[in-house]
Amino acid sequence: MLPLDKHPGLIYVVATLLPLASFVILLIAGGVRQYLRPRKQESSLAGTLYTLLGGDAPGKTAAYVATAAIGLAFLCAVYGFVKFNSEAHHLSHEIKHLKEAIVELKHEAEHEGDKFEAKLKAKQGELAEKEGRWSGRVNWVVILPGGLNDNKHGTALQVGFYIDQLSAVMFAMVTFIATLIHLFSIGYMSEELHQPVADHEVHTAHGHLHRRGRFGRFFLFLSLFCFSMLNLIIADNLFQVFVSWELVGICSFLLIGFYYERTSASNAANKAFITNRVGDAGFIIGLLIVWTYVGTLNFQEVFARIRCPDKAFSAARGEHGKVVSLEYAGLIVRANPQGSKSANEGDMVSILKPDESIRADTRVIIFPREPDGHFEGVGPQSRAEVKEIDVFERPRPDQYSSMPYWLLVAAGLGIFLGCVGKSAQFPLHVWLPDAMEGPTPVSALIHAATMVAAGVYLVGRCFPLFTPEAQLVIAYTGAITLTVAASIAVVMTDIKKVLAYSTVSQLGYMMLALGVGGWVAGLFHLITHAFFKALLFLGSGSVIYGCHHQQDMLKMGGLYPKMKITAITMLTGVLAIGGIPLFSGYYSKDAIMADALGFFMVYKQHFLLFFLPLITAGITAFYMSRMWFLTFTGKPRDAHVHEHAHESPWIMTVPLIILAFFSVSIAWGPEEVALENTLHHAMPHAVMADFGVEPLVDSVIVRTPDGSKRRELTWSGGKTKPLSENSRHLAHEYHDLAGTMALGMGLAGILLAALLYYFRVLDPADSKEQFPGVYRLLASKWYFDELYSAILVRPALAVANWFRAFDTNVIDGVVDSTALATVKTSFWSGRFDNGIIDGLVNLTASVCFAIGAWLRRFQTGYIRSYILFLVLAAVAIWVIMSFLFGTGAPAAGH
């Protein structure tokens, strides 16, 4: 069994692998069935096996397997969450104290020697054990088996898990929503159980398309998706995140294209996949920059080396030292190069003050992997007044290195571009509304609650990697996205499209919050949004199911008496997203607005970052109420749809009720366990360092080991910024103001929607006629598709056509003329061969023949002629011999 008492974090690994196991089982079973189907008549064994695996109608087995896996994963997540929260405060304090003790001991060990060495070892062992409780990793691919004795070059890609409050909350949220959506899908996808299934949206020569049901396949994809998403959440390094990232991408592709016979579905799947590739290209670039300069992709290690450590041993040179906070604690430290020394001494750089302007060659200090006892931090005002340090190209573990500042900016923007693609942010948001072609539970799970949240999650995770420039880009991207998407949602008539644009808009809020330093607010909104958006999507799924796949709100209306549960639960979701007090969305949106206001008060030039979300809060409330009124109230606009409409079965309404409950209450709770405070514990110090440390207001209640409670600062490093620069403090101070403004806007939006669509005091058609230009702009989704078509797709096609022309004309021309030349050459070569070469050979032969024919005449058959020749020959030989050898004198003369 698992050593859960020593490594309780392993429960998360188990929970992650459960959906994978379900995926593998379903894949093998499905594959075997597919293989056996044409062969079941051939042998009794194949037939029996086929029947055992479900025969022609396997029923809902696949759904039960997948739902059981994700349900078990949810139970594991609850166990893990409870266990983690019960010991997290305690553990984090112990780890903090151990780290401080180790810093101290390192210093002592260097001065005093062996006595402290053993103590140091013991403390380090203890630290490793404590840290090993909720994290762990193994090498996956070892790149340099021997390792290098420097801390720049990476030696291995790793797989690991790291649990903090953020991943614990996310894990619980994803497994919970996924479980409900699995349950909902059992009902919603039941039409896929029919054999064969008729797809009324695909027309073939023989009427509607008839195909095999794909019930099992749907749950197969869902299981793979759940595994990928969970793996993404527990990953402790960027590479593992990237792998999961691509896996959820492919699952999204498969599920959007689930009805792949429909052209629109397969196009939407392609669009989503290709748009995401654009973002992933940026992700890879960011990954490579980090890998090249920092040498590891592990989150904690990367952050520890990019950001200045919090603590150091202050009086390394004095006798009475103590652990102190550092001036640059948590910040990215920039420095200007001063010139090269020899290879052994590295290059000299001088540290910049935080507000000093940067140059083109400004570098970022990368801190040592294992600071020794002399480490005192850097900066002009540190105790040792270290203003200049040596950085090395190939540093030892205790030496500094550096990287160009602009490359760190590029790495942050690259990773953010990946998040832009995945979280459907401007300008890569175009895929998400089209992705609604997939089955509605998929829209709820993947394209509202979890996958699109992965981008926001990663921005939160990688926050310490982002330089102030990158943070500003994130904030503006979020602000533009939320406004554009909300404005489009106002005119959409397809119920799922409204929700899709609303999702894009809400994700924009989260990005905005992260960009202005509202780390907790952004991720808090991510969680609350996951609940109410899943609710709204499932609600719309229930409506669509009840109306027999009618998605156009203009054909609905007056459905309230027919589907009360769906209507009421959806109203809960609408109020939650509209930011009505006591509903969860109110708390998280308030927090975001407060952070935006705080940021605006410090940086007045960025006023848009506050006013855009404020106005959009009203628009959000307006279009969500409009959707609800259009669907459930008023007179039925399509008698046929209304007549056949019915409430969905319990397996679909029960998840709605559960989700509605959580959409209201997820943000509630006593101070120390409330979601917002739980998330607060996971906040990276970098957020505080970048946006100002607050004196008391950000304190939390902690439970001390003896059971009493006390207030404590979440982070004690660094110094508080002056109030005028401290956006976090201002955010807290003006929290109520921001909340009131947002609430006012939200109520105004709902009121306007009610006037237009419920009381019918105003006619929406009038406004449509009064502002035809605006309406066309919004209804055409700001012409983004047309724009991309004009500047990207069509030029790409033009270039492709040009290349094709080049190919057919030039390349093929060259090939063809080569062929022609070869034919011609062969022709003449053939002529030469037949004429000259063969002529010579034939000539030789004919000469031989002629000689033979001539000689033939001498073979008469008359013996006397032979003898005559013999004699003549003898005489001739004699004559020749005597000419050649004769001396002229006859032998007789002697």
């Binding site: 058959g861 008359y862 013996i863 006397r864 003898i867 005559l868 004699v871 007789a892």
Partner: protein, 104 residues
């Protein structure tokens, strides 16, 4: 008159040889051809014997070869006469010009 020497023998042998060769070339009768062959062989034999007599170094070889030639001639005559007799039995003639069965 000079004493009889090697030249005389050689001259006789040459005359005999030429007579034999002419006999072989001119006779159409197979028996006549055989007689020519005998003449040629004996012409050659006289050479051998004469050399053996006048050149002591060839004494043994000359005699031996002469004997071989005589034996060979006897054997040849026997075989050839048998052929001729058979030929006569088949064709009722001994004219060598009519012996063209093997002509191809």
């Amino acid at each position: 008159m000079s004493p009889i020497g090697l030249e005389h023998y050689l001259t006789l042998a040459a005359i005999l040889f030429v007579c034999g060769a002419v006999c072989m070339a001119t006779k159409r009768n197979a028996i006549g051809v055989l007689i020519g062959v005998e003449l040629v062989l004996n012409g050659a034999n006289i050479n051998l014997v004469a050399f053996a007599h006048f050149n002591p170094a060839f004494e043994i070889e000359g005699m031996t070869f002469a004997l071989f030639v005589i034996v060979l001639a006897a054997a040849e005559a026997a075989v050839a006469l048998a052929i001729v007799l058979n030929f006569y039995n088949n064709h009722t003639t001994v004219d060598v010009d009519t012996a063209e069965d093997l002509k191809g």
